[in-house]
Symmetry: C2
Subunit: 415 residues, 2 copies
């Protein structure tokens, strides 16, 4: 599916203010969970119940809030009131106490007197240090404070997006709107991830709120399609975290219905994909120690999953990532990592370009100008395009380069 | 299979001289393929025809000598006379000319007048720069020179092992002997790999020569068993090269037969595994930029492949490897990488130790002394033991730490 420029309006979030979806209220508080004087508690609350879809880490060692969210989605996925999230503590490897704390945290918007929380159906997410229990008094105080500040504003949304950051160096947000039979539907999304300081672990958290009216199965289908082509097409270092969570809430406040099988579903899915791809690029670019965003376009594949597998194999290669850091048009490392992806193709039909430079064709290297290559590789965004000559499907995968800074960040001895 | 100390005698290769297998002659020459004044051409020649077994890279982009060796093994696997190998040029991504050059190279021991080469059945291996054709005149001159120097000596073997090195910082060799019904059988092995300087690619080459008498199918079975538990249990950076090749030649010169299904087969397989595991440890320890050897023992697995999968997942984690470099007993990164290996187990039954220190048990971290952990992590060899509590099988995987030096080696701009 290609995104229709006519119907989807991507927003440049840096040009504030922009419209947040109707009926969603946002806030953040400085709860002092790990550090003082920073927003570390986010609250998202919908005026009316939402349909929800969500995807979670596949790691066997999943954190307590992931277990809790899975249960919440399964029991109340058509009646969700919001999300409460903290940074500074991941509530992972915390046993039964950790799970009980996640449950308590979900009830806090209501129990601390948040005017709009008339049910306990909140998703709970945590990111930060693992193996440590949540400081529940601070969490409670933070939620109480955030409850008072809830606002349907750009600033509220941006505060929420700030509160989920750990060692991210930039805030990641995206927004879009589309017209459904004359009615405007809005989406906003934010995410965090890729930074970590020992003993924290990487966590990817992503949230999308939309005022579209969409049945749970429509929402789930659109979300899985979009996540597959965005967050699941992004890698920093190949390590799947224990806390990864992506959630979409649809409260229907726009009145526009996304009916199953309709043109609207197609447009909505495209808009959602576009928003999440925007976040995926931002996440990859802010990978630990990264100096460059690497976009890997795989075409000529027999199917999407094969294309993505090849893209991920290239994106996962330390050798490719260090070569790009070193501004080296190292076609050998790229074709090599494509070759061990486990996807069958004929190496003599492979065509590889970096930027506009043709590097490999018909089974062998193509002479190129080192000067031109250095120019392409000096850019902040590097586009690698490999055509497998084995079909008509494609995928794009995003990653970053691998630098000494990554080693420094992750190898620095605990103090 | 456990190695029987009664029957297998591992040799400490550093305490020269040691017995090389009967009937194998070794030599090396300075052919000047890439650099002057270094051994870069190795020749191994058996007095009598050998049975052979070999395993090759699974990369779709395999180099010309790999294609050639596969054909040679299939056509003449029971009548091999030796190996000719060069460093300095990988003969990879070289098209039909490259394949023709590999064929020519195989015939050179005989055509240049080597007294012992009375057939053209030589394996051909190359390692070094890719995308460049072999300098055939130098190869020919090198083979002619080596032919004259062939000797059944420790020195000849060590020269051969030196000639295959690229940017390896140490030579990797191992040897063992065993008694088969009163007759001594000898094995020697050498390997190269893990070092690379752009635009070279990593190549793992490993050779084993034995004077055992073993039918091709027995040799193949023993070799695959051993490789699976040694070279295939080792990773530096997860990048599978285009040239990986491991070969065993058995010339039967000892007169001792390794009969299928016999006690001798069991002992021979154990000795072979032991020798190749020794090489695997040496290869991992000499990984690019490495300061430490990391040995990951996975026990309590439902089967060997599952155990190895978990071990490889831990060994492949950049986060684990940087933590070890940083002398950080980061149990979280270790259990996390085990959790996404794709092997089912109950996280509450997992037990993790590093050295003698218990780090994780019953689903949660165990308090430990930072001082003790720093002591363990300051050693040059780090042993991680994870028990999955999910069966009785086990595997050991070897890797190294990930350091700034790796980035420097692989990210240095081409000059």
């Amino acid at each position: 599916m290609r995104i229709s420029e006519q119907t989807i309006h991507m927003k440049n979030i840096n040009s504030k203010p922009f419209d947040t979806p109707l009926g969603f209220f946002w806030a953040a508080a400085e709860a002092g969970i790990k550090l003082a004087n920073r927003l570390d508690l986010g609250l998202l609350n919908s005026e009316t119940p939402c349909n929800a879809a969500a995807v979670f880490t596949q790691n066997l060692f999943c954190a307590a809030p992931v277990t809790f969210c899975r249960e919440m989605l399964s029991a109340h996925g058509n009646n969700i009131r919001g999300v409460v999230v903290n940074s500074g503590c991941a509530n992972a490897a915390t046993g039964p106490d950790g799970l009980e704390n996640a449950r308590l945290m979900a009830r806090m918007p209501q129990s601390t007197g948040c005017a709009m929380a008339d049910s306990e159906n909140f998703f709970v997410c945590s990111t930060g240090t693992i193996g440590v229990q949540l400081p529940m008094d601070r969490i409670r105080a933070g939620i109480a404070e955030a409850s008072k500040k809830l606002a349907q504003t750009t600033e509220g949304f941006l505060d929420f997006a700030t509160a989920i950051m750990t060692t991210d160096t930039v805030r990641k947000t995206a927004a879009a709107s589309l017209e459904v039979e004359g009615t405007t539907v809005r989406l906003v999304a934010c995410a965090k991830g890729s930074g970590m300081i020992h003993p924290d672990m990487a966590t990817l958290l992503a949230y999308v709120a939309t005022d579209a009216k969409a049945a749970p199965e429509v929402l789930d289908r659109a979300f899985r399609y979009a996540v597959d082509r965005s967050l699941n097409c992004m890698t920093v270092d190949g390590d799947t975290s224990t806390n990864d969570t992506a959630i979409i809430l649809a409260n229907g406040a726009s009145g526009a219905e996304i009916a199953a099988g309709s043109e609207a579903e197609r447009d909505f899915t495209a808009a959602l994909t576009s928003v999440l791809q925007d976040l995926a690029r931002q996440l990859a670019r802010d990978g630990e120690g990264a100096t460059k965003l690497v976009e890997i376009l795989v075409t000529g594949a027999p199917d999407f999953l094969s294309a993505r597998k090849v893209g991920r194999s290239i994106a996962g290669s330390n050798l490719v990532k260090t070569a790009i850091y070193g501004r080296d048009a190292n076609w050998g490392r790229i074709v090599c990592s494509a070759g061990y992806a486990g996807v069958p193709f004929d190496v003599d039909r492979v065509r590889l370009t970096m930027g506009e430079i043709l590097l490999f064709e018909a089974g062998g290297p193509v002479p190129f100008s080192e000067e031109d290559a250095l120019k392409v590789l000096s850019e902040e965004k590097i586009v690698i395009h490999i055509d497998l000559g084995a079909g008509n499907e494609e995928a794009t995968v995003w990653t970053c380069d691998l630098t000494e800074k990554y080693i420094e960040i992750n190898g620095s001895y605990r103090t």
